[in-house]
C-alpha cells in the first residue's frame, strides 16, 4: 500500500485558486475511480473533482470554505501499489502565466522542503436524524443528558447508526446549550455557527464592495401597467404551444433596450480603479434570481438582438439553470445592467444594491389595483412601482429621472416599445 496525493486540477482558464465548497467523501471512505470527491468553486462556477483512481481517503487538504491554489494537495489516498506522496514533497503549484499576475497574494510559492500542510481531522458532525426518529444512546448517556437538561433529540450522534456517544454529548454541552433547571420555558442560549462560504461568501463580498464603493441613490416612480397587462394577457392567450409564458420582465427588458439607446451612460461599467466608464453597445441584462444556495445573477446576453419571446425563453432557461446549479461561468457574468424583481413579494419600494461595476439597477415592485382620478371619475388601474438605483459618481440625478420617465412612458403605452418612432 502507498499514499498518493490528488491535487487541485486546473479548473478553468485564468483560475489560480478555488474554494472547497463541499466534500463528498470523508477520511476513511473508500473511493472508486471517477467517484466525485469534492466540489470546488471558482469565480462563480462550481466544479466537481472526480477521483483519478481507487483508494481510501486518509486526509483532506482543506476544510469546507478553505481556498486551495491550483496544484495544491486536495486530498490524500491510500492506494494499492506504490504511492507518491511520501516519496516526494508536494510539488510547487505550477501557476500559469496569466494567473500569476491575478492572484499572487493567496498562494505564495511553497519552499521545496516544506512538509505537507497539516491535515484536518473530520468534524464531529454525524448524519442528521430524520424527523420523528428516536435518538439512540446508551442508558448511561441518557441519564447524563437528562441530568444536564439536554434533550437528546437535539444532539447529533457520530456513532454507528447515528448512536450518540459521550463525546457527542460533551461537544453539545460545550456548545453552551445548558438549560436552567425547572423552568417550563427554557431560555434558548444556543448560537449556531454558519460559515459564510461558497456562494454566500461571494455575495457578501460583492454586496459590501458595491455599497462601499458606489454612491447609491434610488429613484422610485409609479407606472400604470393596465395596458401592458392587457397586452401581456392577450399575447399569452394567443401564444402557440411551446412559446414561453410571458411575464412582465421581457417587456421591461425590451423597454430597457429602447431606453438605453438614448441613455448610453446607464448601460455601462465603471472601472473605478482606472477611472474609466465603459459604455457598452450590447445590452446584457442581469436577472437577479433567488436559488436554494443564495442570490445569483444569470445574464441574458445581447437583449438588443432578441425579440420579446426570445428574451422570455432565454430568461426562463437561465433561471432554471441557475436554480439547478448548472449555470456556467459564461451565463453568470458579463452583465451591463441588472433587473431585480421579487414578484408578488416586491413590496412598495426597494432600494436595490448595484451589481458593481454596473451603474444602474432596475427594481420591480408589486402590482396592485388602485383608484386613479381621471379628472372626472375614479377608475381602477393596475399600478406598479419601479425602484431603481444608480451610481451617483457617474450618473446624475437628472439623467436618472429622465431615464426612468422614458421607461415609464414606454411601459404605459406598450405599443411604443415595439414601434420604431
Amino acid at each position: 500500500m502507498g499514499l498518493r496525493s490528488i491535487r487541485l486540477p486546473d479548473v478553468g482558464e485564468g483560475v489560480a485558486e478555488a474554494e472547497v465548497v463541499e466534500w463528498h467523501v470523508k477520511v476513511g471512505d473508500h473511493v472508486r475511480e471517477d467517484q466525485t470527491l469534492a466540489a470546488v468553486m471558482t469565480d462563480k462556477a462550481t466544479v466537481e473533482i472526480p477521483a483519478p483512481f481507487d483508494g481510501t481517503v486518509v486526509a483532506l487538504g482543506a476544510e469546507v470554505g478553505g481556498m486551495l491554489s491550483v496544484g495544491a494537495e486536495l486530498l490524500r489516498l491510500e492506494v494499492a501499489g506504490e504511492g507518491d506522496a511520501e516519496a516526494a514533497p508536494a510539488p510547487k503549484p505550477q501557476p500559469r502565466a496569466e494567473s500569476k499576475a491575478e492572484a499572487p497574494r493567496s498562494h505564495p510559492a511553497e519552499p521545496e522542503d516544506e512538509p505537507p500542510p497539516p491535515m484536518r481531522t473530520p468534524s464531529r458532525l454525524g448524519p442528521p436524524r430524520p424527523a420523528g426518529e428516536k435518538p439512540i444512546a446508551s442508558p448511561a448517556l441518557r441519564r447524563r443528558a437528562r441530568e444536564a437538561g439536554v434533550d437528546l433529540r437535539q444532539v447529533r450522534g457520530t456513532g454507528p447508526a447515528g448512536r450518540i456517544e459521550h463525546a457527542d454529548l460533551d461537544a453539545f454541552l460545550r456548545g453552551g446549550a445548558a438549560a436552567p433547571a425547572g423552568a417550563r420555558r427554557i431560555a434558548n442560549t444556543t448560537v449556531e455557527e454558519i460559515k459564510v462560504i461558497g456562494l454566500r461568501r461571494r455575495i457578501a463580498q460583492k454586496m459590501a464592495e458595491s455599497k462601499r464603493r458606489a454612491a447609491h441613490f434610488s429613484y422610485v416612480e409609479e407606472i400604470d401597467v393596465t395596458s401592458l397587462e392587457d397586452l401581456r394577457a392577450h399575447l399569452n392567450a394567443q401564444a402557440a404551444d411551446g412559446k414561453p409564458k410571458l411575464t412582465l420582465l421581457p417587456f421591461l427588458m425590451q423597454a430597457l433596450v429602447r431606453t438605453v439607446a438614448d441613455f448610453p451612460q446607464m448601460n455601462a461599467l465603471y472601472d473605478d480603479d482606472a477611472e474609466i466608464v465603459h459604455r457598452h453597445g450590447g445590452v446584457h441584462i442581469g436577472i437577479a434570481t433567488q436559488t436554494a444556495s443564495g442570490l445569483m445573477v444569470p445574464v441574458v446576453r445581447h437583449a438588443e438582438a432578441r425579440d420579446l419571446w426570445d428574451c422570455a425563453a432565454e430568461m426562463q432557461r437561465l433561471a432554471e439553470a441557475a436554480r439547478a446549479g448548472q449555470a456556467g461561468r459564461e451565463e453568470l457574468s458579463g452583465s451591463t445592467i441588472t433587473i431585480t424583481s421579487l414578484g408578488p413579494l416586491g413590496g412598495i419600494v426597494t432600494t436595490p444594491v448595484l451589481n458593481r461595476p454596473e451603474v444602474a439597477i432596475i427594481g420591480v415592485n408589486r402590482q396592485v389595483v388602485r383608484p386613479h382620478w381621471t379628472g372626472a371619475q375614479f377608475v381602477p388601474r393596475k399600478m406598479m412601482n419601479l425602484s431603481s438605483s444608480f451610481d451617483h459618481r457617474v450618473v446624475d440625478g437628472y439623467d436618472a429621472a429622465q431615464f426612468v420617465q422614458r421607461i415609464k412612458s414606454l411601459l404605459e403605452a406598450p405599443a411604443t416599445i415595439f414601434i420604431e418612432v
Binding site: A137, P139, E147, P160, A161
Partner: protein, 464 residues
C-alpha cells in the same frame, strides 16, 4: 387517632414498592411502606418465584420419569416418585428466605414498614388498618404500587375446584385431572409443570392458538412439547361454566357443540387486573387509562406528587418493569431528573421450551414502518444445545435494513431465559448487527446462536 408524618408513603410492598423504598432509603428520604399481605408481593409469594420453583421441581421429576424409561443419556432410574408435600416445603423455604431478605433490606435502609390495609383519604393522607389499630399517615409524596390480582371469569368464579394461579402454587396434592382456562404464559407455565408432575392436563383457550400474544414461529416448539407431554389443547374453545354436579368444566367449541371436561382442579388464568379497588382511589379522582391508572413518562399521575408504578399502570405487567419504575420514581422524588426512557422491557415465558422476547417482533417492526432484515439461527446447529439435549428452538434477530440497528431479539429454547440479559443489553446500548457479530461469544454456549443469528441477518452465518 395517632397521625404519622413522613416524606414518602408507599402503598404496596411488591417488587415496585419495596424497590422504591430501598432506593428512597439510600437517598436518605424518610419513607413508610404499607403492605397488607406479604412483603415481596405477588411476584415473590404467589407468582414468579414459587412458580419457577414448581416448574424446576416438575422438570427434575419429569427427567427422572423419562430416565425410568429409555433415557437417551443412558441413565437408568427405578420407579421415581415424588413427595409433593416436600416439594411445597422446599418452595416455601425459598419464598420465606427471599421474603426475609426483603424485610432485612428495608430495615437496613431505614424504611418503616407497616402491615395493614391502606385507604386514601385525600391525595396525601392514608388511613391504615393495622394490627395495632387504625393509623393516619400524612406524606408529601404517595407512591401507589398495589399491583394486580388474577382476573376472574364471570361464568367461573373462583372457589372450590376453581382456582387462580395463587392457589395453584400451594396445592397439597398434584391434581389428577387439571383443566387450565387460558393459554397465556401463566396458564401454560403451570399447566406444563403439573403435566410433568403427573396431572392429566387440558388447556382451554378462546383464541385459536396458544400464547396468542406471540407469533406462531415462536410458539410452535412450545405447542409441540405440550403435545409430547400429553397436554390436550382445546383452542378456539370457550369455558361456559361448571357442570350442574360441579365436577366438570363445560366448554363450547367454535361450532357451538359443548363438551364436559371432568376436573379435580380448574385453573383460571385469563389474565390479571389492576388492584385499584378498596384503596379509596375514588377519593382522589385520578386520571385513568381504562382499568389502569394513567401515568406519564415519569410515572406521575394526574395528581401532583401522587405517583403510580407497576401493574397498576398497565401492560406489560412484569416485576422488572415495576422495579425500574420504582427506582426512577424514588430518584425523581429525591429531586433528580429522570424519565422512563427504556428501549425494551424483556418478557419471558417459562414454558418448555422457554420463550424470550425483547424489543420489536418482525411484525411489529414492520407495522412501525421500519424496513427490516430478519434472520434466525436454530439450536439444531448449536453444539452446546445438542450436548444439553435441547435442540428445539432458535434465536431470531430483527434489525433495520438501512443502518442495521437491532430492533428486536426473540428466542425459543431450553434454558434461554438467561440470554435475555444479553438481548436486553444489546437493545439498550443501541447495538447494530455488526456489534453482535463483532463480539466473541464463548464456545460452546447457547449464546453463540445469538451471534450466529446476527451474522445470518448480515448474510454471513458461519455454522449453517
Amino acid at each position: 387517632m395517632p397521625e404519622i408524618r413522613t416524606k414518602v408513603l408507599i402503598i404496596g410492598g411488591g417488587p415496585g414498592g419495596y424497590v422504591t423504598a430501598i432506593r428512597l432509603g439510600q437517598l436518605g428520604i424518610a419513607t413508610m411502606l404499607v403492605e397488607r399481605a406479604w412483603l415481596g408481593g405477588t411476584c415473590l409469594n404467589v407468582g414468579c418465584i414459587p412458580s419457577k420453583a414448581l416448574i424446576h421441581a416438575a422438570e427434575a421429576f419429569e427427567q427422572a420419569v423419562h430416565q425410568a424409561g429409555t433415557d437417551r443419556y443412558g441413565i437408568r432410574v427405578e420407579r421415581p416418585s415424588i413427595d409433593f408435600g416436600r416439594t411445597m416445603e422446599w418452595k416455601d423455604g425459598i419464598v420465606g428466605r427471599l421474603k426475609g431478605g426483603v424485610a432485612a433490606l428495608l430495615k437496613k435502609h431505614g424504611v418503616k414498614t407497616l402491615a395493614g390495609h391502606a385507604t386514601m383519604l385525600d391525595g396525601k393522607t392514608a388511613r391504615v388498618e393495622s394490627d395495632t389499630g387504625p393509623q393516619v399517615i400524612k406524606a408529601e409524596h404517595v407512591v401507589l404500587a398495589t399491583g394486580s390480582v388474577p382476573a376472574p371469569l364471570t361464568a367461573l368464579p373462583f372457589g372450590g375446584r376453581v382456582i387462580s394461579s395463587s392457589e395453584a402454587l400451594s396445592l397439597s396434592d398434584v391434581p389428577q385431572r387439571l383443566v387450565v382456562v387460558g393459554a397465556g404464559y401463566i396458564g401454560l407455565e403451570l399447566g406444563t409443570a403439573f403435566a410433568k408432575l403427573g396431572s392429566k392436563v387440558t388447556v382451554v383457550e378462546a383464541e385459536d392458538r396458544i400464547l396468542p400474544a406471540y407469533d406462531t414461529e415462536l410458539t410452535r416448539p412450545v405447542a409441540r412439547r405440550l403435545g409430547a407431554l400429553g397436554v390436550e389443547m382445546l383452542a378456539a374453545t370457550r369455558a361456559r361454566g361448571l357442570s350442574p354436579d360441579g365436577e366438570a368444566l363445560v366448554v363450547e367449541f367454535a361450532g357451538g357443540t359443548e363438551r364436559r371436561l371432568p376436573a379435580d382442579k380448574i385453573l383460571v388464568a385469563i389474565g390479571r387486573r389492576p388492584c385499584t379497588e378498596g384503596l379509596g382511589l375514588d377519593q382522589l379522582d385520578l386520571g385513568m387509562d381504562g382499568a389502569f391508572i394513567r401515568i406519564d413518562e415519569r410515572c406521575a399521575t394526574s395528581m401532583r406528587n401522587v405517583w403510580a408504578i407497576g401493574d397498576l399502570t398497565g401492560e406489560p405487567m412484569l416485576a422488572h418493569r415495576a422495579m425500574a419504575q420504582g427506582e426512577m420514581v424514588a430518584e425523581i422524588i429525591a429531586g433528580q431528573r429522570r424519565a422512563f426512557d427504556k428501549v425494551a422491557i424483556p418478557a419471558i415465558c417459562f414454558t418448555d421450551p422457554e420463550v424470550v422476547t425483547v424489543g420489536l417482533s418482525p411484525e411489529k417492526a414492520r407495522k412501525a414502518g421500519h424496513e427490516i432484515r430478519v434472520a434466525s439461527f436454530p439450536f439444531q446447529a448449536n453444539g452446546r444445545a445438542l450436548t444439553l439435549g435441547a435442540e428445539e428452538g432458535f434465536v431470531r434477530v430483527t434489525a433495520r435494513a438501512d443502518n442495521h440497528l437491532i430492533l428486536g431479539i426473540d428466542a425459543v429454547g431450553q434454558g434461554i431465559a438467561e440470554l435475555s440479559a444479553a438481548f436486553g443489553l444489546a437493545l439498550e446500548m443501541g447495538a447494530r448487527l455488526e456489534d453482535i457479530a463483532g463480539t466473541i461469544h464463548a464456545h460452546p454456549t447457547l449464546g453463540e446462536a445469538f451471534h450466529e443469528a446476527s451474522l445470518r441477518t448480515l448474510g454471513e452465518a458461519l455454522h449453517i
